[in-house]
């Protein structure tokens, strides 16, 4: 298909009325046969695929079949109903969660919409995956009244950036408002990266999962962690490396515990894999494999303790979260990786300071995974969308205003015991509690 500059979607009409034959999809209890905001093409202009809907400000436009994309120039959006259904074996990992799953296929415009029935839920975690070699991203989130939520802030969610999967948590912040009852919709695009360029790719299968969380006490929550040791069995109680990591986990526990977050950490060994690994999304499928193998409960967040990061496959980093936010189910970026060697340093031993440092790194990276960005980026002009993380002007000012914040992009811990001094703002705590992986 030749390159075409495709305009963004126009707002769809809000009251669809059937004009012709019934849509050619099999109805089920949970499938929306006519997506909200879309009108069916009249018989006279219907395209061969029978699934094309045009949404142009209430006007139904005639189609001109014979074009390779079976649409019109200008604002065109084809809404293929995609099926989301309740998982027939709902997760018993938590009474607070319902799991929905579904599949769909992007249309000729590389777009696909998933409708999510929401009832009595406080937050949702939407996760979409595409086959290897393709990318997917969230283009719009629509509320039940078809209002399109803005996801424009570059530090709101990584789901809007192309990747092998896309994870969206909503609401992300308390100011986003409640998750109202009704049918929400997530509109995705599929694409492919070639030669550094991004191209839309049509007709790509997409699989999705949706966790709906009902939280009666949003000020208290549990994060369940599956701590996996790459390249070894889970260390014995008297093992020095195990002692180092466990002491750091206790420091992490203290940081989160001050804000109503309890950590439930279960350890696992993965002696069958190398101790040196790329970070999540670094070109290896180890995270998909580990999360698919389900060593641990479905709602656990994978934290992979690696010796070091594979050279050339990921940045020289000390820890990396797969996505912001991340999924609690399986996926190519499902997890966090942290290097224990990089926290020990050149002597290969861990002192009290290095324990504190590892504690803050674990808290920082899991903070990313639960939806937190840095309060300011290294340009010192890009700020997170939270009201109570102050803006600042320049490096020195930002160090003064935000230098003790857990999510500050520079290492916050420079002395032993520093985990006692690390701060998390009230809005940041709100994000952590809203995250559907916090139960």
């Amino acid at each position: 298909m030749r390159p075409i500059f495709v305009l963004l979607l126009a707002a769809c009409a809000t009251d669809p009325e059937p004009d012709g034959d019934e849509p050619p999809v099999e109805e089920s209890d949970t499938v929306d046969t006519e997506p909200a905001g879309c009108r069916r093409v009249p018989d006279e202009g219907r395209c061969e695929d029978n699934t094309l809907f045009l949404c142009i400000d209430g006007e139904v436009e005639r189609t001109e079949c014979g074009l390779d994309r079976c649409g019109l120039d200008g604002d065109v959006y084809a809404c293929i109903p995609s099926e989301i259904s309740e998982n027939p074996e709902p997760s018993d990992a938590s009474e607070m969660l319902r799991l929905l799953t579904g599949t769909g296929r992007s249309n000729a415009e590389a777009g696909v919409r998933f409708n999510i029935p929401v009832e009595d839920a406080t937050s949702l975690l939407f996760h979409a995956q595409v086959p290897d070699g393709y990318v997917v991203w969230v283009e719009k989130l629509r509320e039940p009244d078809d209002f399109s939520r803005s996801l424009d802030n570059p530090l709101l969610t990584m789901a809007v950036y192309p990747g092998p999967d896309a994870t969206l948590a909503w609401p992300s912040r308390e100011e986003d408002g409640p998750l109202t009852e009704g049918t929400w919709a997530v509109e995705l695009r599929t694409g492919v990266l070639e030669g550094g360029e991004l191209y839309y790719a049509p007709e790509i299968p997409v699989s999705v999962s949706v966790h709906l969380k009902t939280d009666d006490d949003p000020e208290v929550g549990q994060l369940r962690i599956g701590l996996v040791y790459a390249g070894m069995d889970a260390p014995a109680a008297d093992d020095r490396l195990g002692q180092f990591i466990r002491l750091a986990v206790e420091g992490w526990r203290e940081i989160y515990g001050r804000h109503g977050l309890e950590l439930i950490v279960t350890e696992y060994g993965a002696s069958g894999i190398d101790s040196v690994q790329p970070g999540p999304g670094g070109g290896d499928d180890i995270y998909a494999q580990l999360s698919n193998d389900r060593l641990f409960d479905e709602t656990d967040i994978l934290v992979l303790m690696v010796e070091d990061f594979a050279a050339g496959m990921s940045p020289d980093i000390i820890g990396q979260a797969g996505a912001i936010p991340g999924t609690t189910g399986p996926g190519p970026r499902a997890g966090i990786a942290v290097s224990w060697l990089r926290h020990q340093g050149t002597d290969g031993e861990a002192d009290a300071y290095e324990v504190s440092l590892l504690a803050t790194t674990l808290a920082h990276e899991v903070g990313h995974y639960a939806g937190l960005f840095h309060p300011v980026e290294f340009d010192w002009t890009t700020f997170d969308p939270l009201s109570d993380t102050p803006t600042c002007g320049g490096e020195n000012s930002c160090l003064r205003e935000l230098g003790d914040n857990l999510m500050f992009p520079m290492a916050v811990c420079m002395e032993a015991g520093c985990e006692d001094d690390v701060t998390i703002s009230a809005d940041q705590v709100g994000v952590l509690h809203l995250y559907p992986g916090t139960l």
């Binding site: 298909m1 030749r2 390159p3 075409i4 500059f5 495709v6 590389a110 991203w137 570059p154 530090l155 990584m158 950036y161 192309p162 695009r189 694409g191 492919v192 360029e197 991004l198 191209y199 839309y200 790719a201 049509p202 040196v276 970070g279 999304g281 070091d308 050279a311 990921s314 940045p315 020289d316 980093i317 000390i318 820890g319 990396q320 912001i324 290097s339 060697l341 990089r342 926290h343 020990q344 340093g345 050149t346 002597d347 290969g348 031993e349 300071y353 290095e354 440092l357 990313h368 960005f373 840095h374 980026e377 290294f378 340009d379 500050f408 992009p409 520079m410 290492a411 811990c413 420079m414």
Partner: protein, 156 residues
């Protein structure tokens, strides 16, 4: 397929430092720049960025390994860059570190750089040192799969 609107920003982990190129006039300034560059939650990706603008990159990397202990990853990243980009000039220093029990952590990092040491004779000597040092177990595995027969021949 067709070209997308070319405004998408690819994100890895949020917030990677983009250090400004510095032109420090002294070795101490070099070290300060290096430490500032690496004292971040997500240090820069490649050694070219780590040493960009430094007056004496090899010497600065060596000083970072010896003199900088906080945060602890600075010495490891500096040592890795020294092995990658300056192995010939720094051979004796690297060999000493590979054998030093007090450098057990750095040895584990350096050993994994052996395959990218371009000079085969240097790689052989460094491999020999590694096989005598605290990371000998890791060295044995790395050496055994090195693409160069002269290095592979050292495998125990």
């Amino acid at each position: 397929m067709f070209r997308a609107i070319p405004a998408m920003l690819l994100f890895a982990c949020a917030g990677r430092a983009t250090p400004e190129a510095a032109a420090p006039p002294s070795a101490d300034d070099d070290l300060s720049v290096l430490v500032a560059r690496l004292s971040v939650q997500h240090p820069p990706e490649d050694c070219a960025i780590v040493t960009e603008g430094l007056l004496t990159p090899a010497a600065t990397l060596e000083r970072a390994v010896i003199e900088v202990s906080r945060p602890p990853w600075i010495g490891l990243i500096a040592g890795r860059c020294l092995a990658r980009d300056h192995a010939v000039a720094a051979e004796s220093t690297l060999a000493a570190w590979l054998e030093d029990p007090k450098m057990a952590g750095l040895s584990r990092t350096l050993v994994r750089e052996l395959p990218v040491v371009a000079d085969e004779a240097v790689a052989v000597r460094l491999a020999q040192a590694a096989l005598r040092g605290p990371a000998a177990d890791v060295a044995a595995r790395v050496v055994a799969v090195d693409p160069r027969p002269a290095v592979r021949a050292l495998a125990p």
